[in-house]
Amino acid sequence: MMKIEAIIQPSRLESVKEALLEIGVEGITVTEVRGHGRQKGHTEVYRGREYTVDLLPKIKLEMVLADGLANRAVEAILKSAKTGKIGDGKIFLSRIEEAIRIRNEERGEGVL
């Protein structure tokens, strides 16, 4: 089992969700987050005073998938989240030891 965490531009959320649905991803967690990578922020000016806004709004997607599906999901995210501009985000992959369904305490890949 693999966990995919992807930080993407808020404007790409709909197309990423569609692309994941298409390849058969069934469970996904979406969080509105703020942060920055190398892109840093932008400046805002209020009555001549400049403020640097360094934490920008982003979307974090999390999903745990069977190994075979995880690779295809990464490809789908890459394709659908890319605008080619700085600030498109990152994808992080990690191995998952166990998954447990709370309702019936079932364990393993079957619960995904």
Binding site: V45, Y46, G48, Y51, V53
Partner: protein
């Protein structure tokens, strides 16, 4: 709170004993000219004379109804400027944790000044005919009823005049809260504003608008200052006092290192638009009648605001590359401030000029001068009201015309455009007196209030936000 109560009582006693002395030195009021008696020849039957008298009464009553309707609406419009207008405008500009505290200050003044007005305020502003301050003729609103007061507004009940003028007294101290925002104690604010209203506002209002006042233009003041709707009385006094307060209180914790952007420009935008609308009552209502002068002031007000919004936006666009919403609304407010003293004296084209000049200069004040001197006028009460009011008062002397308002008598020149440049000097005297009384009054009162209740909140409270620490509530509980 107890100390505050004692202080208030002390002050009221002081006022009660001191001011009648001043007021009584004034000259005996001139007796109004006797109405010219109609020559009733014996041939006119009694019935015709009676009918004529009835008609005359009906004409007077009709004019009074029309004027009274407009003035009551104007009074409501001016109240609308404080709440919700100014409360929203300022509320949006502060950080989220202080939104209720700043709105509450405006609202508290709506209640506080109203009570003071009924007790002594109206009388100190408009009672008697002293040169500096009124007397106690109308204390507890004695003698204020349905009958007009011919000294001020001969066609409307004095009650209407009284309630209309009250709304000005409410918004003036409320404007100062823009400079003290996010760090002044509520108790200190209440006490300071009470004293400030009595010591700074009342004498200034009487000098400019009160009968016999030193600066009164229509009733023979020593230095006739043209101030149609309160450029000196409202904006210069509040703006200059705001600067003193900002300097006395010191900077907010973290200023200017830490970002303090407005928490909701949507609120500020709504507030600014309400201010613009309310200002028609403020300026056009200052004609005190529903007449041509009111229309002229209405038009000048609107044109001044529009030109100033464009002026500020243009300057910002050139300087920062983008015209901002906050810039546009700040410009409009600056224009409204500057056109206030001029509204009933200038034509529409000079109004455009005054507005445009005010928009540019207030932009410069707020973006350059404030940064150079490094004082923390949190919401720019001085940069907009102090600077805009001063510029407007001086430009009134330049652009005032007898064709719009022959205040010195039919055919007599009024301002610079009429060739009477001396008026600019009179305006300067008015402005200097307003600056002086505001500077001295505010320094003394702040010192006094600091001893009695303190003026600044504790640092932990400031960091946590005044909403929760001073009022025990929060502006937004969005997730409940």
């Amino acid at each position: 709170m107890k100390r505050m109560g004692v202080a208030c009582c002390g002050l009221i006693i002081l006022v009660l004993t001191a001011f009648p002395l001043l007021a009584q030195q004034a000259s005996v009021p001139a007796t109004p000219p006797a109405p010219t008696a109609s020559v009733a020849t014996p041939e006119v039957p009694q019935a015709v004379t009676e009918k004529l008298n009835q008609l005359e009464q009906k004409v007077t009553a009709a004019q009074s109804s029309a004027d009274n309707a407009w003035m009551l609406v104007s009074a409501a419009l001016v109240l609308l400027m404080t709440g919700p207008g100014l409360a929203l405008f300022y509320g949006g500009l502060v950080r989220q944790k202080n939104v209720l505290a700043i709105m509450m200050q405006s609202f508290a003044l709506m209640a506080l000044i109203t009570v003071l007005w009924a007790l002594v305020g109206y009388s100190l502003c408009f009672g008697g005919n002293g040169p500096v301050i009124g007397n106690f003729e109308h204390a507890f609103l004695r003698g204020v009823g349905a009958a007009p007061n011919p000294d001020y507004a001969g066609t409307i009940p004095q009650t209407t005049f009284m309630i209309y003028q009250l709304m000005f007294a409410i918004i003036t101290p409320a404007l100062i809260t823009g400079a003290t925002a996010e760090r002044m104690k509520f108790s200190g604010t209440v006490l300071f504003m009470t004293l400030w209203f009595l010591v700074v506002y009342a004498p200034m209002a009487h000098m400019v608008w009160g009968k016999g006042g030193l600066l009164n233009a229509s009733q023979g003041g020593r230095f006739p200052t043209l101030d149609f709707a309160g450029g000196t009385v409202v904006h210069v006094t509040s703006g200059v006092s705001a600067l003193v307060c900002a300097l006395y209180l010191g900077k907010r914790v973290g200023y200017p290192r830490q970002p303090m952007p407005p928490h909701s420009l949507v609120l500020s935008f709504t507030g600014a638009c309400l201010l613009w609308v309310g200002w028609f009552g403020f300026n056009a209502g200052s004609a005190l009648a529903s007449n041509g002068l009111a229309s002229s002031a209405f038009v000048a007000t609107h044109f001044g605001a529009a030109a100033a919004a464009l002026g500020w936006s243009m300057a910002e666009w050139l300087k920062h590359g983008r015209p901002s919403a906050l810039g546009a609304i700040s410009g409009a407010v600056a224009g409204l401030v500057a056109i206030t003293p001029a509204a009933g004296f200038v034509g529409p084209i000079p109004a455009l000029a005054i507005g445009f000049i005010a928009g540019l200069s207030c932009f410069w004040m707020v973006t350059r001068i404030k940064g150079m001197f490094r004082y923390d006028d949190a919401l720019d009460a001085f940069g907009v009201h102090g600077a805009g009011g001063t510029i407007g008062a001086l430009l009134t002397g330049v652009f005032a015309q007898a064709a719009i308002n022959p205040i010195f008598g039919a055919g007599k020149p009024v301002g610079g455009l009429d060739g009477r440049w001396r008026q600019v000097g009179n305006q300067l005297v008015g402005v200097l007196i307003a600056w002086s009384i505001a500077l001295v009054g505010t320094i003394v009162l702040l010192k006094l209030v600091d001893l009695l209740t303190g003026v600044r909140v504790q640092e932990e409270h400031e960091v946590a936000g005044l909403d929760i620490t001073l009022h025990g509530e929060e502006g937004y509980n969005l997730e409940t």
